[in-house]
């Protein structure tokens, strides 16, 4: 492009000795890198390193490497900063990106260590003894009243509806529209098999997935896309999305190009128009207003649990307290390092606080107010492994949410180009020739494999800790130690430093 100063980030090389000209790379690349004249050619500037071509080349003839082009070293002006300026000088606008904060912020999970039993309080072998990962999301009563005598006892307290999870792990909200219907299908099938839930995100629920209603949380966000009484009834709970980790405080714009016929009928908006989600819910300007919507949803659904999803921001503890007092059953905390959503880079990378810290202060705040039992906490936005999950639960989460990890299981390479709609793996696209590549049953099996693997690991960790239920780990910060964190952060996390 004339005047374009950007150089290719990656170099694509086709080994013509190996290439047998099958053109599979041309068919597979969603970004139009390859062409064929008398031999296969590659336009490296279009490559996003999604590896689709590499994986599907039968001859292993394709290699993708980082462009080794040297830039003059400058510790203040790393290459990405220079590139951002070239982009904005060329075509004005906010730099759009996706798939989570990629700046090297401190990762608190990597500075927390889990305890284990030795000699006294013997550890438990999960291979021989039952280990319970089941948990329940929702309001727990302040106390239980049991009446009766001589073995004929009856629970007198009316317990609010809870969601039963066989594993303390849910799939995070990603809307149909941002991801393909096959992605939603895979998540729904896997959630059913695993005894957990997937979350619709804010784009409504395709009619075909209504049968999975026992394993779905339906979302009601500021755009109210696809929200109607039947939809609200089509899940085990309703989630009010106030904020998300990928873009705390701002709305969303799903471009018209991704509004195909099926997305249009699910979101109930005209085909090809942009789907604009306002930054706030315009019927929620206060905790009282939030309470009003929570109870409007409860009235509409026969008092199903209501979750409120927020991004973790500076005053998250006070906000969470308000949400609990507004009548929410679940608080979904979305950390600033996570999130899959398309977002301006400036917001994705610099707005919010880490999940780990938010989780600790929210749990502490709710406990100190004596209202921790009124809400369950789902921690999401930066859960990368079963270790992160265990640490999040020890910091105070009832369950964790995974979005990015689930997409990686489906083949995502974190190329961060979801907003283009060109996803070669069929995940974040509405182009039928691309989305058709993701077989929902194959995807579901991979998701089930991932969660089962993490479950095995969680059981081992619990056994090592000498407990036999995940609920015994929840909020048990005595079983965590910090390493390499400053004293103040350690104090805020309310964990002891290693050695104490």
């Amino acid at each position: 492009m004339a005047g374009d100063m950007l150089t290719s980030e990656f170099l694509v090389n086709v080994d013509h000795e190996r290439c047998r000209r099958c053109k599979r790379c041309i068919l597979n690349c969603g970004f139009g890198v390859f062409d064929f004249q008398s031999m296969t050619t590659a336009e490296s500037s279009k490559c996003v390193a999604c590896h689709r071509c590499v994986v599907f080349c039968p001859e292993e003839a394709i290699t993708v490497t980082r462009n080794p082009l040297a830039f003059k070293d400058h510790s203040s002006w790393d290459v990405n900063r220079r590139k951002a300026i070239w982009k904005q000088a060329q075509a004005p606008g906010m730099i759009l990106t996706g798939m989570g904060n990629d700046l090297p912020w401190l990762n608190v999970f990597d500075h927390l260590l889990i305890d284990a039993c030795q000699v006294t309080n013997p550890s438990i072998d999960p291979l021989r003894e039952p280990m319970e990962l089941r948990t329940y999301l929702g309001r727990k009563p302040d106390s239980l009243e049991v009446v009766g005598e001589d073995g004929a006892h009856r629970l007198e307290t009316r317990v609010a509806g809870n969601i039963r999870l066989e594993v303390p792990l849910v799939f995070s909200g990603m809307s149909y529209g941002s991801v393909s219907l096959n992605t939603h299908r895979a998540l729904a099938i896997a959630a059913e098999k695993l005894g957990t839930v997937m979350n619709t995100g804010e784009g409504g629920l395709h009619k075909e997935l209504y049968p999975y209603r026992d394993h779905i949380i339906v979302q009601c966000a500021s755009g109210r896309f696809g929200v109607h009484p039947e939809y609200l009834q089509s899940g085990v709970a309703v989630e009010i999305k106030v904020g998300q980790g990928a873009k705390p405080g701002i709305g969303g714009h799903l471009p018209g190009e991704k509004i195909c016929q099926e997305v249009s009928s699910t979101r109930m908006i005209p085909r090809g128009t942009d789907a604009l989600s306002p930054a706030p819910h315009h019927d929620i300007y206060s905790i009282e207003d939030l309470r009003q919507l929570i109870y409007a949803l409860k009235e509409a659904t026969g008092y199903k649990p209501v979750s409120v999803k927020i991004a973790t921001v500076h005053n998250v503890a006070a906000i969470a307290s308000g949400i609990a007092r507004a009548g929410a059953d679940i608080i979904y905390l979305d950390g600033f390092k996570g999130g899959t959503g398309a977002s301006p880079a400036v917001v994705r990378d610099h707005v919010g606080i880490p999940l780990e810290i938010a989780l600790a202060v929210v749990d502490s705040q709710l406990r100190s107010e004596g209202i921790r039992n009124r809400v369950s906490i789902i921690a999401a936005g930066g859960i990368r492994s079963s270790a992160d999950a265990a640490k999040a639960i020890a910091l105070g989460a009832d369950a964790v949410g995974i979005g990015t990890a689930a997409l990686i299981a489906l083949g995502c390479r974190l190329c961060q180009k979801c907003y283009t709609g060109n996803c070669s793996w069929g995940i974040a696209t509405q182009k039928p020739e691309l989305s058709g590549r993701l077989d929902p049953d194959w995807g579901a099996e991979r998701l089930v494999n991932l969660v089962n693997s993490w479950s095995l690991e969680l059981k081992e960790v619990l056994g090592a800790l000498g407990v036999n239920a995940v609920e015994s780990l929840r909020g048990n910060r005595e079983r965590l130690r910090s390493l390499g964190l400053d004293e103040q952060t350690t104090r805020i996390l309310d964990v002891k430093p290693a050695g104490r």
Binding site: K87, Q88, Q90, A91, P92, G93, M94, I95, L96, C220, S222, G223, R224, V227, H228, P229, E230, L232, H253, P255, G256, M268, I269, P270, T273, D274, L276, P278, H282, D283, Q292, L293, Y295, A296, E299, A300, T301, P344, Y419, T420
Partner: protein, 249 residues
């Protein structure tokens, strides 16, 4: 067959009990429900579906007809905030004035308010296929009328004014990317959002306004004889993709 009509005394009844009672009657086949003595009970007709009529005598509380999908609700008094919030189908007629956030995210049906409406009315209304939401208010409106509107029709008649209070506040149609706003009365371009343009009325507009005026007058009992369709100014978005150029990649 005669309509199955029920009468409920709502005096002092907590909203949850009242609404449960209404839902039970609807499930039981009620075609018309009269709620007497209503005084601030929230969520009346919340998520209700089907073909029935609810008459509210008294002032209903917030979120009247929220998520409603079909019924007709008639209020013989004022209504509060959130009337027709995220409503899918049906009709709400308020024979007095209504509060803020009327018809937020509304996707279908009609809200007719005889008097004034407050701030943030018709935000993010949207249409889909045969579902075209309509809000008509006989009086005036506050700021942010039709902000982010993506579809549907908002009409302000400007009746009953004292000649001093403005027809509408500021930021009309900010972020507008669909739908139509018809205003009758004086306003300045400085009150409009950047995405809004004035357009001349065409025959389709005249036809639509005539029909709506007739229906509005019949439902609310307002006298619209002095209203001529030619007096309306029509506002539509300058673009259906106002934020298409926000980003670079």
């Amino acid at each position: 067959m005669a309509i199955d009509e029920r009468i409920v005394d709502a005096t002092g009844v907590y909203y949850r009990e009242l609404n449960e009672n209404v839902r039970r009657m609807v499930a039981d086949g009620a075609g018309k429900i009269l709620l007497n003595g209503v005084n601030g009970q929230r969520y009346i007709a919340d998520g209700l579906r089907g073909d029935l009529e609810i008459v509210v005598n008294g002032v209903p509380g917030n979120d009247l007809a929220v998520f409603m999908d079909g019924p007709t609700v008639i209020v013989n008094d004022n209504a509060q905030d959130g009337v027709g919030n995220t409503m899918n189908r049906g009709k709400v007629v308020v024979r007095g004035s209504a509060g803020d956030v009327i018809g937020y995210g509304m996707r279908g049906g009609k809200v007719f308010v005889a008097g004034d409406i407050g701030y943030r009315a018709g935000i993010h209304m949207k249409s889909f296929n045969d579902q075209v939401p309509v809000i008509v208010a006989g009086g005036r409106a506050g700021d942010f009328l039709g902000e982010y509107i993506a579809g549907g029709v908002l009409v302000l008649l400007g009746l009953n004014g004292d000649g001093e209070a403005p027809l509408v506040g500021g930021y009309v149609g900010t972020g507008m990317h669909g739908g139509t706003i018809y205003l009758r009365g004086e306003f300045d371009d400085s009150q409009l959002g950047e995405e809004v343009r004035r357009f001349e009325l065409d025959d389709d507009d005249r036809g639509l306004l005539s029909e709506l005026l007739e229906e509005f007058a019949a439902d609310t009992g307002c006298d619209v004889s002095q209203v001529s369709v030619e007096e309306f100014k029509k506002l539509q978005p300058s673009s259906h993709r106002p934020y298409g150029n926000l980003y670079t990649y």
